[in-house]
C-alpha cells in the first residue's frame, strides 16, 4: 500500500499550500521587512491569491487514501475553491483600498485574510465533519481578530467580542452535533452518511442522528445569519472595518451555504422530509423579518447585514426544495449575490473615510461627483433587488421555479412580496445617489483597487444580464459533483 504523498497529491493540494505559504510570508515581511518591502506587501498578496487561483483551475485531483477521507477533489470542490479564491481576491483589493485611507499594520491583516480563505476552502472541499469543523474554526478565529483589527475603534472591539462569543456558541453546537452523529453511526465521513442513516438499527440511534443533524444545522444557521440566529450580524457588520464586513457578508455567507449544500444536497439529499420542512419554516421568518427591518437602516454596513440576511432567506429555498436542480440554483444565486455585494462594497470602500462607516447621506450626489461609482453601486443594488434584466432576477427566478416545482407555493408568494420591500430599500439608496451634491462635499482621493473591483463587478453584471447561460451551464456541470 502506497501511503506516501506523490507530486500529484501536492499539486492537488497546491491552492491551500500556496495560500499557507503566502500567509506566513506576510507575517515574516511584517516582522522583518523594510518599509519598501512592507509597501509592496499588498501586491505580493494579490500575486499569491492569483497564483493560487491558477493552481486551483489547473490542479489535478488526487486519489491518495491519505487525503481522500478528509478532502474531496471532485468538481464541486474545485468550483468552491475557485469561488473562494475569487472572493479572497476581491477582499484583498478592498483591504488595499482601506489601508490607503486608514493607518494600521498590514502584515497581520493579510495573514488573517489568507488564513480565513484557507478556512473557507477547507469548508468547500471537506469530505468529513472534522475537516469541515477545522475549516469553520480557521475561518472564524481569523475573523474574530479581523473584526477588532482597528484596535482604537470602540465599536470594533465590541463587535469582535460579540462575534467571538456567538461564534464560540455556534462552534459548540456544531461540535456537539458532530459528536452525536458519530455516536449514532460511528463515522464522521460524509460519503458514509446516507448509507449509515438508512441502516440505523433502532429508534434510539435515529434520535441521536436527528439530534446531531439538528445541532449541526443550528450551528451553520448561526454562521449563515438565518433568523432567529441572526442577532449578531447587524452589530458585528456595523462594528467591523469595511473590508472585513465585505468579507463576512460574502465569504462567511457563501461558506456557510457551501457547508449546508455539501452536507444536505450532495451527501444527504432528501434524507428526511422533516428537515426540508424545517428549513422552509426558517426561510419564512428570515425573508419577512430581514426585509422589514432593512427598511429602517441608514448605515450601510448595518444595512448590508440585513440585506445579507434576507438573501440567506432566498438561499434557504433551494435547500428546502432539494432535487437535482437545487445545487445549480443555489450556486448561481451565491455567485450573483457575491458579485453584487463585492461591487457595492468597492463603492463603500471608495467613499469610506470614517470609522463609523458610510451613512445614507454620504451617498448624496454621488452621481455628479463620480458617475462611475454611482453606476456600479446602482447596478449592484438593482441586482440585489432582483429587478430584471439584471442577473439577480435570473437567480431569484431559478430559485422560485424550484420552490414552485416542489410545492412550496407559500415561499414563492412570500418571497415575491418581500421583493417589493427590498426594491424599496435598495432603490432608496439609488435615489439618494442621484440627488444634488451637498455643498461641503469631501473630495475622495483616487483609489485603483476599488476601481478595479467596481469595474470587474460592473462588467460581470452587464455580461450576465444579457448572457447568463454560460455561467448557468458551468454551474450545472460542476454542481452535479
Amino acid at each position: 500500500m502506497n501511503i506516501a504523498l506523490t507530486q500529484t497529491d501536492f499539486a492537488a493540494l497546491s491552492p491551500l499550500l500556496i495560500l499557507l505559504g503566502g500567509a506566513l510570508l506576510a507575517l515574516l515581511v511584517e516582522s522583518f521587512g523594510g518599509t519598501s518591502t512592507k509597501k509592496s506587501l499588498s501586491y505580493i498578496v494579490l500575486a499569491v491569491i492569483g497564483i493560487a487561483l491558477l493552481a486551483a483551475i489547473y490542479a489535478p485531483s488526487s486519489n491518495n487514501t491519505l487525503l481522500t477521507p478528509w478532502i474531496r477533489f471532485d468538481s464541486l470542490a474545485k468550483l468552491f475553491t475557485i469561488f473562494f479564491l475569487a472572493i479572497g481576491l476581491g477582499s484583498s483589493l478592498l483591504a488595499i483600498a482601506f489601508f490607503q485611507r486608514f493607518q494600521a499594520t498590514h502584515g497581520e491583516y493579510y495573514f488573517l485574510l489568507l488564513s480565513s480563505v484557507i478556512g473557507l476552502i477547507l469548508i468547500g472541499t471537506a469530505a468529513d465533519f472534522l475537516t469541515l469543523f477545522i475549516g469553520i474554526e480557521t475561518l472564524s478565529i481569523a475573523l474574530y481578530v479581523l473584526c477588532g483589527y482597528m484596535k482604537d475603534w470602540k465599536l470594533s472591539n465590541e463587535a469582535a467580542m460579540k462575534y467571538f462569543f456567538i461564534g464560540a456558541i455556534a462552534a459548540a453546537f456544531l461540535l456537539y452535533g458532530i459528536a452525536l452523529i458519530y455516536g449514532a453511526i460511528g463515522t464522521t465521513r460524509f460519503d458514509l452518511l446516507m448509507k449509515a442513516y438508512q441502516t440505523l438499527p433502532d429508534e434510539a440511534s435515529k434520535a441521536l442522528f436527528y439530534g446531531g443533524i439538528a445541532l449541526i444545522t443550528l450551528g451553520l444557521a448561526f454562521k449563515a445569519a438565518i433568523v432567529p440566529f441572526h442577532a449578531w450580524a447587524p452589530d458585528v457588520y456595523d462594528g467591523a472595518p469595511t473590508p472585513v464586513t465585505a468579507f463576512m457578508a460574502v465569504g462567511t455567507k457563501v461558506g456557510a451555504f457551501a457547508a449546508l449544500s455539501v452536507i444536505f444536497l450532495v451527501f444527504l439529499p432528501h434524507f428526511d422530509v422533516r428537515w426540508n420542512e424545517a428549513i422552509a419554516w426558517l426561510a419564512y421568518p428570515t425573508l419577512i423579518y430581514a426585509n422589514y427591518v432593512a427598511l429602517r437602516e441608514y448605515q450601510l454596513r448595518r444595512f448590508f447585514a440585513y440585506s445579507g440576511i434576507s438573501h440567506a432567506g432566498f438561499l434557504l429555498i433551494p435547500l428546502a426544495a432539494g432535487g437535482p436542480e437545487a445545487l445549480p440554483a443555489l450556486l448561481f444565486y451565491l455567485v450573483i449575490y457575491s458579485i453584487a455585494t463585492l461591487g457595492s462594497f468597492a463603492v463603500l470602500a471608495f467613499i469610506d473615510t470614517r470609522s463609523e462607516g458610510v451613512m445614507m447621506q454620504d451617498l448624496r450626489g454621488l452621481f455628479r461627483r463620480s458617475p462611475f461609482f454611482a453606476s456600479v453601486l446602482a447596478l449592484c443594488l438593482l441586482t440585489l433587488a432582483g429587478i430584471p434584466p439584471t442577473p439577480g432576477f435570473f437567480a431569484k427566478f431559478y430559485v422560485f421555479k424550484l420552490a414552485f416545482q416542489t410545492g412550496y407555493y407559500g415561499l414563492v408568494v412570500v418571497g415575491l412580496l418581500t421583493t417589493i420591500l427590498s426594491a424599496f430599500y435598495y432603490l432608496r439608496f439609488v435615489a439618494v445617489m442621484f440627488s444634488d451634491a451637498t455643498e461641503n462635499a469631501t473630495v475622495w482621493p483616487r483609489s485603483w483597487p476599488t476601481i478595479t473591483l467596481g469595474l470587474a463587478s460592473l462588467i460581470a453584471i452587464v455580461f450576465l444580464s444579457f448572457y447568463p447561460s454560460p455561467l448557468m451551464n458551468l454551474l450545472a456541470v460542476f454542481g452535479t459533483g
Binding site: I387, F393, R428, A431
Partner: protein, 487 residues
C-alpha cells in the same frame, strides 16, 4: 426576411454608444441619439410589407427553459410603429444645453426603445416579464435624475407601484409553466400556453395577477395613484414616454396575455372591468376640470382617455377592440403632442400654473395655434385621429348597452370643457405684461411637431391603411372568445 434581432439590437447598441459618449459634446450627443433612434423606424418602413410572421428563436437559458423568442404579428407591428415614432420625438424634446449628462438621458431612452421592441414582440412568457420589468429601470432614472423638484419621491413612488403591481407575476408565470408541464415538457411559449392556460384550477388567480400588473401600468381606474406625481415630476421627455408608450405597454399586455390566454375569463370579468374603466373616464375628466396646473390637467386627461381605450377592450365586440387598438395609437400620438407643446409652454412660462399665463397667444401665436390643433385632436373633433377611434369604441359599446354609451359620450363634452379651460386661461383672456422669455416657437419646434400633425390628420381623414393593420390585430382575441362561447 427582415432581421428582427436588428430591430432590437440597434437601439441597444446605440444606448451603449451614448453612455460612453465623451462629455463636453452635449449637443452632439443628442443629435446622434435622435438620428440613431430613427433607425428602427427606417428599418420598419423599409421592410413594411414583410414583417408579419417574422421571428427569431434562440435557446437562451436552457437551465430555466427560457427562450429568446421574438415574433411579429399585426398587434406587435402596430405598437412597434408607435414606439418607433414616439421615441425620436421624446429625444428631440430634450433641451441638451439645459441639463447635465444629456448623453446618459438619451442612452436611457434608447435602452427603453430596445426593451419596448423586445416587449412588443416577445413570445416567451418569462422573457415577457423580463422586458416588462426592465422598462422600469430607464424610466426610473429618467424621472429620478432629470425630473422636477420632487422627482425622487415621484420616481420611487412610480417604481414601487409598478413593482408591487407586478410582483406576483413571476408566480403566475411559473404557475402557467407547471400547468403546461402536466401535458408534455414545460414551456413559456405563449402560443402553447394559450391552449392550456384556462385548464388550470387557479386560472382566475393567474388572470387576476396579470390583469393587476397591466392595470397599474396603464393605469386602469382606481390603480392610478402614482400617475399625477410621476407625469408632472418627469421631464418632458419622460412624460412623453410614460404617457405615450408605457400606458400602451399595459394595453398590449391585456391584449396579449389576458385576452389570448384567458379569453373566457376576460368575457366573464368584462362587465366589472368595464365599470371601472367608465368610472375612470369620468373621474379623470372631472379631476382634470378641477386642476389649476396645466401639466396635471393633461395628466388627468390622459388618465381619462386611456380608460376610454380600456372600455373598448372590455366590450365584447370586434369593432370596439379594433377601435381600442386604434385609439391606443391615437392616444399615443395626441398625448405625446400635448405634453410636447405643454413642455414648450413650461419652458417659456417658467411655471405649470395656469394663473401665471394669460393672453399668451399675443406673444406666441404659433405655439398657441399648434396647441389648439392638438387640443382639437384630443377632444375628438371630426377629421382628427381620435374621432375615428372613439367612434368605433362607442359603436361597439352601443351594441352592448346604449345607456352606458350615452354616459361615456358625456366624457367627450367634458374633455372639451377642461381643454378649452386650459386654452382660455393661458393663451386667451387679458394679455399679461410681456416677458423676454415669451419667445414664439421656431422652425425647429415646428419640425419636431410636424410628424405628429401629419399623423393626426392622416388617421383622421384617411384611416384605411391604419385600419388595415388594426383589424387583423383585433381579430385574434375576439375569434378565440367566440370559439369558446358560440352565440
Amino acid at each position: 426576411m427582415p432581421n428582427l434581432i436588428l430591430l432590437f439590437a440597434v437601439p441597444l447598441a446605440s444606448a451603449v454608444l451614448l453612455f460612453f459618449w465623451p462629455r463636453g459634446a452635449g449637443v452632439n450627443a443628442k443629435r446622434i441619439a435622435a438620428i440613431l433612434s430613427l433607425l428602427p423606424l427606417i428599418i420598419l418602413l423599409y421592410h413594411h410589407s414583410e414583417w408579419i410572421g417574422t421571428q427569431v428563436d434562440y435557446d437562451w437559458l436552457p437551465a430555466i427553459s427560457m427562450r429568446f423568442h421574438l415574433s411579429v404579428d399585426y398587434l406587435s407591428l402596430i405598437f412597434l410603429y408607435l414606439t418607433a415614432v414616439i421615441i425620436p420625438i421624446s429625444i428631440l424634446s430634450i433641451r441638451s444645453d439645459k441639463i447635465s449628462h444629456p448623453n446618459v438621458l438619451c442612452g436611457l431612452i434608447l435602452m427603453l426603445q430596445a426593451f419596448l421592441v423586445g416587449f412588443f414582440t416577445v413570445r416567451d412568457l418569462a422573457v415577457f416579464v423580463i422586458f416588462w420589468e426592465a422598462m422600469l429601470i430607464p424610466l426610473y432614472f429618467v424621472i429620478n435624475i432629470w425630473g422636477g423638484p420632487n422627482r425622487q419621491q415621484a420616481a420611487l413612488k412610480f417604481i414601487i407601484y409598478m413593482i408591487a403591481g407586478s410582483a406576483l407575476m413571476v408566480a403566475a408565470v411559473l404557475g402557467l409553466y407547471f400547468v403546461s408541464s402536466t401535458s408534455g415538457p414545460g414551456t413559456f411559449n405563449l402560443d402553447l400556453l394559450a391552449k392550456v392556460a384556462e385548464s388550470s384550477p387557479y386560472a382566475p388567480w393567474l388572470f387576476a395577477i396579470f390583469l393587476l400588473a397591466f392595470a397599474v401600468k396603464t393605469p386602469l381606474f382606481p390603480f392610478h395613484a402614482w400617475l399625477p406625481d410621476a407625469y408632472c415630476q418627469a421631464p418632458t421627455a419622460g412624460t412623453i414616454l410614460l404617457a405615450g408608450i408605457l400606458s400602451k405597454a399595459g394595453i398590449y399586455g391585456i391584449l396579449r396575455i389576458n385576452m389570448e390566454l384567458f379569453p373566457t375569463l376576460m368575457q366573464l370579468w368584462g362587465p366589472v372591468l368595464l365599470g371601472f374603466a367608465i368610472a375612470g373616464v369620468l373621474y379623470g375628466a372631472f379631476v382634470a376640470w378641477m386642476q389649476t396646473d396645466y401639466k396635471r390637467l393633461i395628466a388627468y386627461s390622459s388618465l381619462s382617455h386611456i380608460n376610454f381605450v380600456l372600455v373598448g377592450l372590455f366590450v365584447l365586440s370586434q369593432t370596439a377592440h379594433a377601435g381600442a387598438i386604434l385609439q391606443a395609437v391615437n392616444h399615443g400620438i395626441t398625448i405625446t403632442a400635448l405634453f410636447l407643446v405643454a413642455g414648450w409652454l413650461e419652458e417659456r412660462l417658467g411655471s405649470t400654473v395656469m394663473q401665471q399665463g394669460g393672453g399668451l397667444a399675443k406673444y406666441m401665436p404659433q405655439l398657441c395655434w399648434l396647441t389648439v390643433f392638438f387640443v382639437l385632436s384630443s377632444v375628438a373633433l371630426p377629421g382628427t385621429n381620435n374621432f375615428i377611434g372613439e367612434l368605433m369604441i362607442l359603436y361597439g359599446l352601443f351594441g352592448e348597452n346604449p345607456w352606458l354609451t350615452a354616459l361615456l359620450g358625456t366624457s367627450i363634452i367634458l374633455s372639451v370643457v377642461y381643454m378649452l379651460l386650459w386654452l382660455r386661461n393661458v393663451y386667451f383672456e387679458t394679455p399679461k405684461p410681456f416677458n423676454p422669455t415669451f419667445i414664439d416657437i421656431k422652425a425647429r419646434e415646428l419640425l419636431i411637431a410636424l410628424p405628429l400633425v401629419l399623423l393626426v390628420l392622416w388617421i383622421g381623414i384617411y384611416p384605411a391603411p391604419v385600419l388595415k393593420l388594426v383589424e387583423p390585430a383585433s381579430e385574434k382575441p375576439t375569434a378565440v372568445a367566440n370559439l369558446e362561447y358560440p352565440q
